[in-house]
């Protein structure tokens, strides 16, 4: 049964001589080494360029947060739970920024049971997650054991009963803090069921590596990491923001979507009358009458924000920029080549920000051979997703 590759654990290998990283220069100062370490930190980025692989763009992700007593531990400040919730807020914002047409839901496990906190929801559902809201719910949730398997039947039910269409990618992300699980049924059967439903489970461990999680993630095709510190936790969450490669079994289909026009009406317009927005029907705060909004092209129901799924006719309503946001995943940028400053022959100016090139190395675009400084390189790859000079040399998109 044990098919996993041979991997030496940390306690099996020898200790690395960590003090050798620090080197003094002639005058005895560590300044050069410190600058080097800071420079490498700036450059540290997970460069997972999948290449020409199909990606799962429309994602349905459930986040399962463990709220057992181990979350009271103070190795993450102020305690693990508060730190996790803050990072969750960041994660949800980034997730909707990179995947605007996807949905997210939250489940917590406490008291040996699991509770579904929010159902799968898009960005502008009334139950949008805010840290304050989450903290209100979580303030008294420390409990004894952590149940993982109880989370699964609930999860399985919600995933399959919602007639989830085959073209979306079904994912679960578990933030697992304790070292034990209390499950009523055999967890290997559960793993088989999840595999059958093509749900990809990834785990971020906060304590240590647990074998059951390793098997779970390996069988379903997800990833398993254990955090080192808060920065590493944030990095791992950022890794999960990007769309994963689509499994070969996900179906490709044409999804019918509506692109509503935004009707802006002012009070002086005689024809416009204030009306209720369908998205605020559950919300009991305030009257909710607005003049303008987005009207569904199929059933003329009004909504105030996009993207949303029409409650009346079931049509997904988006606007063209939402789809455009995901385009950069389809055309990923290549990394720039790093070259030491001494070898670089051109003018010592960064093409993008016109600042002088002062760092140790410059970054050259392989297509247009223009030089960029460290900050511009980070900005271009993380946020801009297109090389400023390449846009100039060709007038095609």
């Amino acid at each position: 049964m044990d098919e996993e590759p041979e991997r030496t654990k940390r306690w099996e290998g020898g200790y690395e001589r960590t003090w050798e990283v620090l080197k003094e220069d002639e005058s005895g100062s560590l300044k050069a080494t410190v600058e080097d370490i800071l420079f490498k930190d700036k450059r540290k980025r997970v460069f997972e360029n999948y290449g020409q692989v199909r990606l799962g763009m429309m994602r349905h992700l459930f986040v399962v947060i463990d709220t057992s007593r181990t979350m009271e531990d103070q190795d993450l400040k102020p305690n693990r739970l508060t730190s996790t919730l803050k990072l969750m807020e960041y994660f949800v914002d980034e997730y909707f920024d990179q995947n605007p047409i996807s949905q997210i839901g939250i489940i917590i496990t406490k008291n040996k049971r699991a509770e579904k906190l929010t159902d799968l929801a898009g960005e502008f559902s009334p139950r949008r997650i805010t840290a304050v809201w989450l903290l209100k719910h979580f303030s008294d949730s420390f409990c004894a054991g952590s149940s993982i398997s109880h989370g699964w039947p609930r999860l399985k039910q919600s995933v399959s009963n919602r007639h989830m269409p085959g073209h979306t990618s079904r994912e679960v992300l578990v933030i697992f803090s304790s070292l034990t699980t209390c499950d009523p049924s055999n967890i290997y059967d559960l793993i088989k069921t999840l595999k059958g439903l093509k749900i990809r489970v990834s785990v971020i461990g906060l304590s240590a590596e647990v074998r059951v999680c390793t098997i779970l993630t390996r069988e379903t095709g997800g990833t398993y990491h254990v955090i080192l510190d808060e920065t590493h936790f944030r990095e791992l969450l950022t890794f999960h923001v990007k769309p994963p490669p689509a499994s070969s079994s996900s179906e490709c289909s044409l999804i019918r979507m509506g692109f509503p026009q935004h009707a802006i009406a002012s009070v002086s317009d005689q024809d416009s009358k204030p009306s209720f927005s369908m998205s605020h029907l559950d919300n009991s705060s305030g009257p909710g009458l607005t003049l303008g909004g987005y009207y569904c092209p199929q059933c003329r129901a009004k909504y105030t924000e996009l993207p949303v799924e029409c409650k009346v006719c079931g049509l997904t309503l988006v606007s063209a920029p939402h789809l455009a946001r995901s385009f950069h995943h389809l055309f990923p940028m290549d990394a720039f080549q790093e070259m030491p400053l001494e070898e670089f022959e051109g003018e010592r100016f960064c093409e993008a920000c016109q600042g002088e090139l002062k760092d140790k190395s410059v970054f050259i675009c392989s297509v247009c051979s223009s030089a960029f400084c460290v900050e511009c390189d980070l900005f271009i790859h993380d946020t801009l997703h297109c090389c400023p000079s390449c846009i100039h040399s060709q007038s095609t998109s």
Binding site: R54, M57, M58, D97, G166, H167, T168, A246, E251, C252, S253, L254, I255, R256, M257, G258, F259, P260, Q261, H262, I264, S266, P297, Q298, L315, S319, A320, P321, L323, A324, R325, S326, F327, H328, L330, F331, E347, F349, C350, E351, A352, C353, Q354, G355, E375, C376, F379, I380, T383, L384, H385, C386, P388, S389, I391, H392, S395, T396, S397
Partner: protein
């Protein structure tokens, strides 16, 4: 008022498409590129004077390149040598402003003189200039003002949208001052980043519009009566006919939009599953085991 230490950068991107401006000089000789740049210089000076810590950058967006008119890298090296020339500002103007204006005029003259327009490249590289503007305004609070002359180039759509999303992520406001034809791309940019879009009714009054509408920064705009937001058309264009559609079909793999259902996506060539009506299996009656 902004606190003393806050650095606020204004980047003005001026469209200097030589073909459009050449035709403009023939249509209306009283409003030429030099008049436009005079108005931009007035606005730049006003911005620098509003607060001691304000900074300015001006980018000229041409058909073949985007060039920083101010601050210019060549002047940095010759700063020490240029001191005698600088102090002779003839009309008693604040020296920083005199230097700024001189740099801008010098650079624009060099730019227009050295570039040759080739036949097929007639569109302004606006997306590239905006990308450079974003990179230069990273460490400080900044905003971008685009003065657009020529028409939109549909080929730049992808890059333009990337730039707009990057600006929105870094809270950089993009304002647009359009001289001639309405630009859908800039309308979307202003709507998404929260900026102002204005199509000027009278080109000769450009300086007035710049000072009244675009000079105040985002904090002060809530207290002013400004032109109302325009209606932005967010409908998508289908990939097959380029028509604007209200309901369309989106490929789940490559996100291309089609107006009619087709079994194969033309962009990524995936074959789609055609949804068939569900078969209802007749329920089998369970036989009771014989006891």
């Amino acid at each position: 008022m902004a606190s003393e230490d806050e650095v606020s950068l204004l980047v003005v991107v001026v469209d200097v498409n030589p073909i459009w401006w050449g035709q403009q000089a023939q249509r209306e000789p009283e409003f030429t590129l030099s008049k436009c740049l005079d108005s931009v210089m007035v606005m730049g000076n006003s911005h620098l004077v509003m607060n001691r810590t304000n900074k300015l950058a001006i980018i000229a967006s041409h058909c073949q390149e985007s060039h920083f008119l101010y601050p210019s890298k060549h002047w940095k090296a010759g700063d020490a040598a240029g001191d005698d020339a600088v102090s002779s500002s003839r009309d008693g103007k604040y020296e920083v402003l005199a230097v700024t204006n001189d740099q801008i005029s010098e650079e624009v003259r060099n730019l227009m003189a050295r570039t040759e327009v080739k036949g097929h490249q007639t569109d302004t590289l606006l997306a590239g200039s905006l990308a450079k503007a974003l990179c230069s305004g990273q460490e400080m609070k900044s905003r971008i003002l685009v003065i657009k002359a020529a028409e939109d180039c549909a080929l730049q759509y992808m890059n333009f949208m990337n730039v707009i999303f990057a600006a929105q992520k870094n809270s950089i406001v993009i304002d647009a001052c359009v001289l001639a034809t309405d630009s859908g791309l800039l309308q979307q940019a202003c709507d998404i980043t929260g900026g102002l879009y204005l199509k000027i009714p009278q080109k000769s009054a450009l300086a007035q519009y710049l000072l009244w509408v675009f000079l105040p920064d985002a904090n002060q705009r809530s207290q002013l009566v400004l032109p109302p937001p325009v209606h932005v058309d967010y409908r998508a264009a289908c990939f097959c006919h380029r028509n604007l559609i209200e309901i369309g079909y989106v490929c789940s793999v490559c996100l291309s939009i089609f107006c009619n259902f087709s079994p194969i996506c033309t962009t990524c060539e995936t074959a789609f599953k055609i949804p068939l009506p569900q078969m209802v299996k007749p329920k089998k009656k369970k036989l009771k085991p014989a006891t």
